[in-house]
Amino acid sequence: MAEMILTVENIKKSFDGFVAVNEVSLSVKKGEICSIIGPNGAGKTTLFNLITGHIPADSGRVTFKGIDISKMPPHKICRLGMGRSFQRTNIFPRLTVFQNIQAALVAHRGMGLNFFKMVDPLFRQETAEILERVGLKEFSETMSGSLSYGYQKQLELGIALASNPELLLLDEPTAGMSAQETRQTIALIEKISREKGLTLLFTEHDMEVVFSIAERILVLHQGKLIAEGTPEEIKQNKEVQKVYLGEGR
């Protein structure tokens, strides 16, 4: 039995009477590339927020690396080895690209509460390596807020990677990207996850992306998990076809 790095059991969340996530259970194997798909409003981002501790679940449990993280605050979950990118780019606009990554490293290496060292010379080598890996080396000294959308998403990936995660949650990593940008991003993500043995869990709207790299697909609809399986199985699943009539690219 392969090791399960993440287990979600019967998780439920309602907002003001509206059930966003309805008793979803899933598990992700270590090293797997897993995708969650579903039409808009299916509850994908809410599910992510529940897993990463950004919002508390009404009921149910989340276990990460064998530890119950259901009631843990996000920063502790991050420290355990979970990384995340957000749907709307979440970077630090008034810092340079370099400083964005460097800050993540500073936090990850536990130097955040150091008051008297100078921060500029810290982790320069490692920061440069990460920048190289996500293809942003030339933008090192640019104000990250002035980058184009695609590059900002790459930076987001870089920030998530700086925390050296074992499980990476990516919320719509190719949203808003052109076909070329999408191809580049996917190639990058795949390469990185293979290199570091990362477990990847991502949500996506672009079916091409999903079917090209996902090893396993979970389908969410109106807060419920309606199908689970390999890309082949999902393609042939009647329920999924019904839900997606007209959807996808």
Binding site: T52, H54, P73, P74, H75, K76, C78, R79, G83, R84, F86, N90, I91, F92, P93, R94, L95, T96, Q99, Q102, A103, A104, V106, A107, H108, M111, G112, L113, N114, F115, F116, K117, M118, V119, D120, L122, E141, T142, M143, G145, S146, I159, A162, S163
Partner: protein, 319 residues
């Protein structure tokens, strides 16, 4: 607020520290002018400058808008003065007492405030600050209430304006040096990420509330120091300096100078205090002038004076 289309020119540590030394040296020469006026103004500017810069740790670096910063200034001022006058404690100990009181006040108040965001955070800082004001205002027997606490003398060995000016200069220079260190430290950098994106900062493994609270406490410490200095400088204290318009004024000073630069608030304090001195000698309508300056600032100089100068690349301003 603030431009980010241009790459900001980073100065090395050495240049920055050189700047502080040069500035301090210049200021050290001030009393040679023999002018009571300039010595008075200089002391005032140093004290309020430190106060504004303490606020800016929260405002410009952490992104927390506090409407109640006058509380720590007042706590520092009254603690120091009361310890000296009513408990007969010598100045150095009273000064330390003021610092402790400031940090404790910031700890208690900050603990509750960092749980809230934006407008609610601002409201709560205002509410707490008004509580402190109300207590000082009403506790006549201790603080003298509305009639004030008067007769705060210079401590024994600092018994002239010139001596006190030098003392203030040293204290403020050391404080700014410390603040400079903190702001350029890993902790300081994380504060800026909290300002930019608290949600993202949580997910690089930072306990955002803890860091905000620490920033609060450091901020309270330096505000209390400036308050303690003020009490002696002014030889009297009135509850007014805890009332919310005081918090607004120090906010304006920071904004005027530019909240995204280290020395901005000091520049802002200098301009406001100098202008106030000029204007009040001609008219009693200083609030009107200050309101107009503020409005002007908001519409035309969103980055403050320093932000404006940086944009125009008038000269390289240390960050």
């Amino acid at each position: 607020m603030g431009p980010f289309g241009k790459t900001i020119i980073p100065l090395t540590m050495l240049k920055r520290e050189k700047f502080i030394i040069i500035l301090t040296a210049l200021l050290a020469l001030l009393p040679l002018s023999q002018s009571r006026f300039y010595i008075f103004l200089g002391t005032d500017i140093l004290i309020m400058g430190l106060f504004a810069m303490s606020l800016n740790l929260l405002l410009g670096y952490t992104g927390l808008v506090s409407f109640g910063h006058a509380a720590y200034f007042g706590i520092g001022a009254y603690t120091c003065a009361l310890l000296m006058k009513k408990a007969g404690i010598i100045f150095p100990l009273a000064f330390i007492g003021a610092m402790v009181a400031g940090v404790l006040g910031a700890l208690i108040i900050g603990f509750f405030c960092v749980r809230l965001t934006k407008i609610y955070f601002a409201m709560l800082t205002l509410a707490f600050s008004q509580i402190v004001w109300a207590i000082v205002f009403k506790w006549n027997s201790l603080t003298g209430g509305d009639t004030g606490l008067i007769g705060i003398d210079f401590p024994a060995y600092l018994d002239s304006s010139v001596r006190f000016y030098y003392f203030t200069l040293v204290v403020v220079a050391v404080s700014l040096g410390l603040l400079q260190r903190i702001v350029n430290s890993p902790f300081g950098r994380i504060l800026t990420t909290i300002r930019e994106n608290p949600e993202r900062t949580e997910f690089i493994g930072v306990n955002v509330k803890l860091y905000q609270l620490i920033a609060f406490m450091i901020s309270g410490l330096f505000a209390a120091i400036s308050g303690a200095l003020f009490g002696i400088f002014n030889h009297s204290l009135f509850p007014d300096l805890l009332y919310w318009p005081q918090s607004a004024e120090v906010l304006i000073m920071s904004l005027l100078g530019g909240i995204y630069s280290f020395f901005g608030p000091l520049v802002g304090a200098t301009i406001i205090l100098y202008m106030r001195m000029l204007v009040t000698s001609y008219t009693q309508y200083w609030p009107f002038i200050m309101g107009t300056i503020l409005a002007f600032l908001l519409f035309f100089f969103p980055g403050g004076i320093v932000g404006f100068l940086r944009e125009k690349k008038v000269f390289k301003w240390p960050k």
